[in-house]
Symmetry: C2
Subunit: 369 residues, 2 copies
């Protein structure tokens, strides 16, 4: 399944009605048990598309039937959430998935039965609906938490406001959760690449040193594992502005994983990879070979713990980490038994990362993809 084309609010409403309204009415009119088809999101239906280099969902579906005692509750919940999304879109508002949960939670009739007990019940249903109508939750007007900031040689329009990302001071523009084209549009752009930085404090170093000005680029962070808004924005800048994406993370399994999610998506959200992942994203550092290359002292490395080692071995089994260069990265990390944080480069001097490390890496094309 591919979800590439932008969809209007009207189109989303049409699909919600078709799938969760007209289909049910038609079943009833025809004397059939009302059912809805939902694409399976479990491991059994997750594939790695070698050609596209994306983690994706396959085509397995399952039925949810109203007259199946084991499915009645989830059948009703699905219609309830679909209806709430329809109302939300019609109202022209967006809301958080937590707020949607409260909005749809109520006691049924005179019973003591609640529509939902926990948000853990409504969240997967949102995902079911996304997959079923081939849309992202942002198109259902649902917001996630937002994190991250961006500055650089780009002008954007956000909800009608023109924002010059060259003049955003030390703070930057806070990346919102919904960055679809109807909210965020790209305008003047001189930038030649995008640099994604794992940590906000390191991003602060790049912004303070005006790295984006000197090297004509855009810099963005996501406060650790980037939230949906940041990932989607990376994808859009890559596709629409034709900019290469460089990823700068700690040299540890978590850093590799952050890169991995940006590059081909995650198994948990496999259905979103097509809209979120950037298979051409370039891993620019820190590399397991950087300690020797940059002559960093042993005392700034950190010993791998058992969890780190286990995680690296897991990553080594991922289909998307089978290239020779990747295996060397991870095997060397295991062999040395240490990891390295971005801030460790400060042992040279605090601006080494912006003045030397990054420019040299890009100049010499020392990245992995």
């Amino acid at each position: 399944m591919n979800i590439k084309r932008e969809k209007t609010d009207e189109e989303i409403i049409r699909r919600l009605k078709e799938k969760f309204g007209e289909k049910i009415i038609s079943d009833l009119k025809n004397g059939k048990d009302p059912t809805i088809d939902v694409i399976v999101r479990g491991l059994s239906n997750i594939i790695f598309d070698e050609k596209e280099q994306l983690i994706k969902l396959g085509n397995k579906t399952q039925k949810r039937a109203f007259f199946n005692v084991g499915q009645t509750r989830i059948f009703m919940q699905t219609l309830l959430v679909a209806n709430a999304c329809k109302n939300l879109i019609e109202s022209g508002k967006t809301t958080s998935i937590r707020s949607l949960y409260y909005n749809t939670k109520h006691t049924i009739g005179d019973s003591k039965e609640n529509t939902f007990e926990e948000q853990e019940e409504s969240n997967p249903i949102i995902e079911d609906i996304e997959v079923s109508i081939d849309a992202l939750r942002e198109e259902l007007h649902l917001r996630a938490n937002s994190k991250g900031a961006m500055v650089g040689n780009l002008t954007i329009v956000d909800s009608g406001d023109k924002i010059d990302l060259r003049k955003m001071g030390s703070g930057g523009w806070a990346v919102p959760s919904i960055v679809e084209p109807h909210t965020i549009q790209f305008k003047e752009c001189e930038a030649k690449f995008v640099l994604f930085i794992e940590k906000d404090t390191v991003w602060g170093r790049f912004n303070e040193d005006k790295f984006w000005k000197k090297h004509n680029c855009i810099i963005i962070h996501g406060g650790g594992q980037p939230p949906r808004g940041v990932r989607r924005l990376l994808k859009r800048m890559h596709e629409e502005l034709k900019l290469p994406i460089y990823v700068l993370v700690d040299n540890d399994p978590w850093g590799f994983y952050i890169y991995s999610v940006i590059r081909q998506g995650s198994m948990k959200l496999a259905y979103e990879s097509v809209r979120m992942a950037v298979p051409e994203a370039r891993f620019i550092g820190l590399s397991s070979f950087d300690q020797e290359k940059y002559n960093l002292p042993d005392e700034v490395t950190i010993k791998l713990n058992e969890g780190d080692k286990k995680r690296i071995k897991e990553l080594l089994n991922y289909k998307w980490f089978q290239k020779k260069k990747w295996r060397e990265e991870m095997e060397y990390m295991l062999k040395k038994g240490v990891k390295l944080e971005l801030e460790a480069l400060s042992s040279k001097n605090i601006a080494f990362i912006t003045n030397n490390y990054l420019p040299e890496k890009i100049e010499r094309k020392e990245w992995l993809s």
Copy 2:
């Protein structure tokens, strides 16, 4: 100790030199053991100033001596960090405390002794230095993590860039870690108050509904417990723009605690209260009495767990929560045995919080301080 006056870079360098340079040299010249005086930051020196309604440090000091075997290491570490801060200020750059740790970490001479083993060793020394020279870490050019965003009827200048917070779209201006007057200046302001909102997704509701435009204010969030930059900005807007600060948090012990830290500071960072805390901050909700007042159904409340109950009992013992109204808030929460999230108001409708709840609360002056 009061740390109110703004200090220039030169003044900070002068204090660092005096306290950690000249004093030592003078000791040596006079044939005395070199020592430095550090203000005690532990519980024994933390006081609640009833008049100012602030958690503060007292005046107890302790000596650190070079020729005391138990203190040599920390004595040297203190000078090392003080020197690194001096260099940092002179370079005109800022950096994160993690980067400073790596910058000062090295093996001493031919020994196997490191200057620091963990960042947990260098962080308290930064706090010692702050207290010793009566400055905040931001004045030492040290950054913390940043979180949070702001929009509203205010124009600011951030690092030379003029930013109109009325035109920041759905994302807003990302609040940086250092918001001292040399970085951030306030310009045109029509706003009549500041609304601090605990959660970013709820802030998104207020921004989307242009609450700040309708009610002529500034809205800001800190992604949960607000970071230093957001707290300091609240303080500055309160003092310099003379704006009342309203605090909107979940109705749970964590929400009360967030309000409490904004209002009179925390014990851990008692020495910063004078520069960070806003004793006049107004708690606008959610109140423990809101469920009845707004006729919210039982199913949107959440049962207090044992941790919640324990925490409320602790809060009830805090000197700054002894006003009758505060005790009633907390005792009623305990009695009902439930808590209430901001999003629970969505059970009325998703814009109830912006269209009804908040305007009514402010109109009727229903806040606690």
